[in-house]
Amino acid sequence: MDKSTIVCRCEEITVGDVENAIAQGAETFDDVKRLTRGGMGLCQGKTCRTVISELIAQLKGESVAAVPVPRLRMPLRPIPMEILAANQSGTSAMFDLLDQASRKERQEK
């Protein structure tokens, strides 16, 4: 692979981009992901995960097994927002910015 070989097809990230991230101190797939966007695209790293992990292992001189596995993110494959929204949720973790602002303004007075 030369520096221009694409490792993440979704985000068009090259070997050079990954090497650059590792040179900046990245040690895991997730570190490289945040610096380059490699693995953040539609396939969510299903294509590039192994290649990037191998590059990290090579450059650090250790085995692939020693490179921490990336965090998995729900959903495992893309689903339409309306399917996710079709359900009702039992909880209410959402907060209302306006309500919050009004409460703080009252506390101040």
Partner: protein
């Protein structure tokens, strides 16, 4: 053998890096940033990264946030492209009660010089056509915007390194002692000595403080976010629940949970978030969700920033706060003024840790 620095900053997130960069502009060497992982692995890498002002409350806090937002354009010119976009902020509302709240808030914000308008439905939809026609109106301010947090931290680090700052990653602090005017900072890999010490490790600042016998009253609050596939340009503004990035993805979320140190995404909150997304912007119904993630936000006990000197321990400083993205350049600037011995250009007394004593 210990390595010596003038100043050590513990925590390489948006706040620690902001302080490191601003300090490195006036103090050319002797600065070390320590991080237990790699920068962006914590809170700074898991945010929607709004630069948010208009619904901050009370108004003195909104005004403080505005000062920071004003610095962003200048910061971008200095450190390089951080995808800063002063898009303007919109908070839609759906009820008469909320409209009344909006007018009251707008009055307070106007008093401190924040440009803000309460729009009716027609004007809100003209400004942001992606919004649901079911809204009653919206608050709008041109002051708000957003930034790419990954680029911001990376550019801070690059610029700091150019200015002589040293970074140590994957090197957690295990002990801190004060001896004869120096701090001895013991880490997993090395022992460091420094004259000045800054604790800016977000939710982990509390644990660091304990090593020196001080209490920094912050706790983690979980916020979950969902992200769509890249979409054609859909919304122009930063909305009070979502934003579209420059490469087309829409990030949605405004949940808050007391879940401790637990960064899992949960289906119930993702469902609730998706419902809110479609309620605000109906066109998102067909958009595909590619991932969810959660971040542990810093929440001080009274929700306002804790930063400045720590009385009782000479040369010890703390900076732990919510809204780190919005406030980063201002905190970096003010902490630098404070550390280099000058007066701060904005009064910071109300942010002192002494208020919890």
């Amino acid at each position: 053998m210990s390595r010596e620095y003038d100043t050590i900053i513990i925590g390489g997130g948006i706040i620690g890096n902001g302080i490191a960069y601003h300090l490195s502009e006036v103090q050319s060497d002797g600065i070390l940033v320590l991080d237990k992982n790699y920068p962006l692995s914590g809170t700074s890498g898991s945010t929607q990264a709004w630069i948010w002002i208009h619904s901050k409350s009370p108004s003195w806090y909104a005004e403080f946030s505005l000062y920071s937002a004003e610095l962003y354009g200048y910061l971008q010119r200095k450190i390089g492209d951080i995808e800063f976009d002063r898009a303007g902020g919109i908070s839609p509302f759906f009820t008469e009660t909320e409209r009344e709240q909006a007018f009251k808030l707008a009055e307070c914000q106007a008093e401190v010089g924040i440009e803000i308008q309460v729009l009716n439905r027609e004007d809100a939809l003209a400004r942001e056509p992606a919004l649901s026609p079911k809204i009653l109106g919206a608050m709008y301010s041109p002051a708000d915007g957003n930034v790419n947090p990954m680029r911001l931290v990376e550019q801070y680090m690059r610029a700091s390194k150019k200015n002589g700052v040293t970074f140590e990653y994957y090197n957690p602090v295990t002990g801190i002692e004060k001896q004869q005017g120096s701090f001895i900072v013991t880490t997993a890999k090395t022992v460091f000595r420094c004259k000045k010490l800054i604790l800016s490790a977000g939710i982990w600042t509390r644990e660091l403080g304990k090593l020196l016998g001080i209490d920094v009253p912050v706790k983690p609050v979980r916020g979950q976010i969902i992200i769509t596939e890249p979409l054609a340009p859909l919304m122009k503004h930063t909305l009070s629940i979502m934003r579209q990035t420059s490469n087309g993805e829409v990030l949605v979320g405004n949940s808050q949970e007391n879940a401790g140190i637990d960064r899992r995404s949960t289906l119930d909150v993702m469902i609730e978030t998706a419902n809110m997304a479609v309620k605000y912007v109906p066109d998102l119904a067909k958009a595909k969700v590619v991932r969810g993630f959660s971040g542990l936000r810093v929440m001080p006990e009274d929700e306002f920033p804790i930063f400045g000197v720590v009385p009782g321990i000479e040369n010890l400083y703390v900076a732990a706060l919510h809204s780190g993205i919005t406030l980063s350049p201002l905190i970096g600037t003010l902490m630098t003024e404070l550390i280099t011995g000058g007066e701060t250009s904005v009064p910071i007394d109300r942010f002192s840790i002494t208020r919890f004593a």
